[in-house]
């Protein structure tokens, strides 16, 4: 039984530089990297390969000793050229120089109707050792799912409302069969339902036809596309419960494992942002080095821009030689904002193309131009302060959660209140908009993650 849920809360950050419909397939990167820092709460990492070793696409190269059956696999075949380590020898990047033609680790293949006959254990084992398991994120806390947990439901968000988000029909073109196979596999993992959420307007054609899922429709501004919001409205998480979430691209990758017997790390990402000359889509593999795609396609020098793997709310700053994040299907390039703004706190916002605001304070005129697209930079537009204004965070979070009280519980390491106030229901992406609109300029995502870490370590 499908529902349409209208969300009143939210805010769309309208940025310039949305990707056009063009998909570029003839550019490829030489170097690919798996970054253990893309995953949360990896506490005891173990790298399985040494520099100079040859790997196939799908060869396990890294795992967390705390979750030892789940392997992270090489996205491409080739030679491991560097294992870059950071503090306390924590592995930061495992870099692979790719072969011209890829070799794959081979796993058994199944037809679509055979997947349903496998038992849960077989499905888990195959997914865990092949590398596709990391597509499954576990709520609470947003970690890689633990195979020993049984989720009460699995959620797939079929749209992305984040700034400059890619179009899912572009990302998933031609993947119908793989998506259906992926869903068959996911259905083995839960006793509950597999939910697919779609936007009420213009839902993805590729996803609309999928079988074996409960489809619900959501309408509203960002974060309407966030899977956390869908869970909150359809199957909220209480203490001791688990819900798993998978990105549609992950579903397709899982499906390809069963249909073709390989770890296929092919991905499409959208290159977006105001500083990109030609914003468009590129086909590559997970963890691709960004230089080949960005070089010559930036409107400014690389030191004047910020290259973000992901979107502007939750992404990670990378250099031109950085890599596409494991879960990212978007690269955003915006101007750096390291300038001084004379009387910038009182004058009407003269640089209007930079001054998007959720608020309607003195001289904040962006509410008058609901269609205008902005060129936002990385300037803070102020300084960090304690909480002052109230009631604003709830206007951009369509959940029954008191953000200020939850974050104060996190700051105070008050575990009981964190639990009671809903820390099981949110991860960084859900409160990222609260952080964006915060006039006190606090680091809310960091505070929340620190709170989660405290809870996990207690």
């Amino acid at each position: 039984m499908s529902k349409t849920i209208k969300l009143k809360q939210g805010f769309d950050i309208r940025l310039k530089g949305k990707a056009g419909d063009k998909l570029v397939q003839d550019i490829s990167a030489d170097v690919y990297a798996l970054k253990p820092t893309d995953f949360h709460h990896i506490t005891r990492p173990k790298v399985l390969v040494k520099e100079g070793e040859r790997v196939k696409a799908g060869t396990p190269i890294f795992f967390d000793k705390k979750n030892p059956t789940v392997m992270l696999a090489a996205p491409v075949s080739g030679e491991v050229i560097e294992v870059k380590r950071g503090e306390r020898r924590f592995p930061l990047e495992i870099k692979i120089l790719a072969d011209k033609t890829l070799e794959y680790e081979q796993y058994p293949t199944y037809k679509l109707d055979e997947i349903g006959k496998l038992n849960r254990r077989e499905v888990i084992d195959l997914m865990a050792k092949s590398g596709v398991w990391a597509n499954i994120i576990e709520r609470p806390f947003g970690l890689i799912a633990h195979p020993e947990h049984t989720p009460k439901a699995i959620f797939i968000s079929g749209f992305d409302t984040a700034p400059l988000a890619p179009d899912y029909d572009m990302l998933l073109q031609g993947e119908e069969a793989a998506l259906q196979a992926g869903i068959e596999a996911l259905r083995k993992l839960t006793d509950g339902k597999v939910y697919l959420s779609l936007p009420a307007k213009n839902p993805s054609k590729v996803l609309s036809g999928l079988q074996g899922v409960e489809i619900n429709y959501f309408e509203g501004k960002h974060p309407a596309g966030n899977v956390g919001v869908h869970i909150h409205h359809l199957a909220p998480i209480a203490k001791g419960e688990y819900v798993w979430t998978v990105h549609p691209h992950g579903v397709a990758q899982i499906g390809k494992l069963f249909l073709k017997g390989i770890y296929d790390a092919t991905t499409i990402f959208a290159l977006t942002g105001s500083e990109v000359a030609a914003p468009q889509y590129y086909k590559t593999y997970r963890g691709a080095q960004l230089r080949p795609f960005l070089q010559g396609n930036l409107t400014r020098d690389e030191h004047e821009v910020r290259i973000i793997s992901g979107n502007v709310l939750t992404g990670e700053k990378v250099s031109l030689d950085g890599f596409l994040g494991f879960y990212h299907h978007q690269v955003t390039v915006i101007p750096e904002g390291n300038y001084y703004d004379f009387m910038g706190w009182i004058l009407p916002t003269s640089k209007t193309s930079r001054s998007l605001s959720f608020h309607r304070g003195l001289g904040m005129l962006s509410a008058l131009f609901p269609k205008k697209e902005y060129v936002l930079d990385t300037n803070y537009h102020g300084e960090e302060r304690p909480f002052v204004q109230t009631g604003i965070y709830e206007q951009v979070l369509p959940m029954d959660i008191y953000v200020e009280f939850l974050l104060k519980a996190c700051l105070a390491n008050d575990l009981d209140n964190m639990e009671a106030l809903g820390i099981y229901e949110v991860i960084e992406e859900d409160i990222a908009l609260c952080e964006f609109i915060d006039p006190s300029k606090q680091k809310m995502q960091k505070t929340l993650r620190d709170g989660i870490e405290t809870l996990l370590n207690s």
């Binding site: 608020h359 537009h381 102020g382 002052v388 009280f405 006039p439």
Partner: protein, 406 residues
Amino acid sequence: MMWLRKKLDQIKPLFEKDGKFASLHPVFDAFETFLFVPNHTTGPRHEVHVRDAMDLKRMMVTVIVALIPCLLFGMWNVGHQQALATGIAMSGWEKFLFGLEKTLPIIIVSYVVGLGIEFTFAGLRKHSVNEGFLVTGMLIPLVVPPTIPLWQVAVATAFAVVLGKEVFGGTGMNVLNVALTARAYLYFAHPSDIAGSGIWVATGNQATVDGYTGETALAVAANTANKLQEAGQGFSAESVVNALNDYMGGMFTFKSMFLGTIPGSIGETSTLMCLIGALILIATGVGSWKIIVSAFGGAYLTGLFFNAIASNAYMAMPAHYHLVMGGLAFGIVYMATDPVSAAHTETGKWIYGFLIGVITILIRVLNPAYPEGIMLAILFMNVMAPLIDFYVVEANKKRRLSRATV
């Protein structure tokens, strides 16, 4: 403005750690960030990469803009009241200049003392100077009578900033509204200068016209009711209204009280100006419309409730008179909406505002000692706001728990 920026960059190292004036760093920092929004950029990960153009400085300035109608009208009214009290004919400009002359020193003292303490604490605690006092420093002059001795303004401001705010950790941490703390201090420590008749009008040492007492409308209303009661006379719904209308040849008609051409604290007399300010605060979203609406509603309903009982003349006064008398409108619009000391939850704001309205009228009508109730009502509800929030948040926790068992 490049030359200014260059100049600042030149002297900046002096104020850095190990610099010559390292101890003055918060002062330099405050002036620098006052002139230029700093070049800070967002972090590389676990943080949003773009930020909203709104910051606390701009938010506070929005409140100050909303205060300007009250401030300008208040200055004119100080002169206007002098003219009424002394019978000297003055033009509009003369009234305004007289008011400016009386008001400006109070504003300067309030800002100098308050900011001085903020800078000192910022230096001691090694944090940057907070913008909260921008608003407080303007509110304090507007809630004191024009005859207030300047040293009292200084002492009250110091008291409020130190004990009302800094001991709790500065802006964002205070329990009580800082400006009201200053006023409450004056009210209890120097009652002869801030309560009673004869202090609300700056006469400029001129003799007053015959029969002039310089009372406020609230005092007139309360006194009338008391006199009638002592005399054992009956009263009607119009008794107080008539007394107000008759006072000084129509000084306290509903219209003049709404417009604000009456004696009182500098900025609080005009309900109209407060409503203009309220519109600015609500339109910009800086002030909570829920608090403003529910507080006016609470006051009006309580007025109606007393009308229904009407066991004395004051109780029988029409409820809408309460909304334009005294500092009710000013308190509700500018002080009850202070987000830090108000309730933080949206449900809580309805309750918080409503009770402010109720308690104000309770104090006015039932308490013989205090003619005005808004100050004590807001301070009382400031203290109660965390309790209201507590129950609203507990309800949220219960909803979450009840969902789990299903």
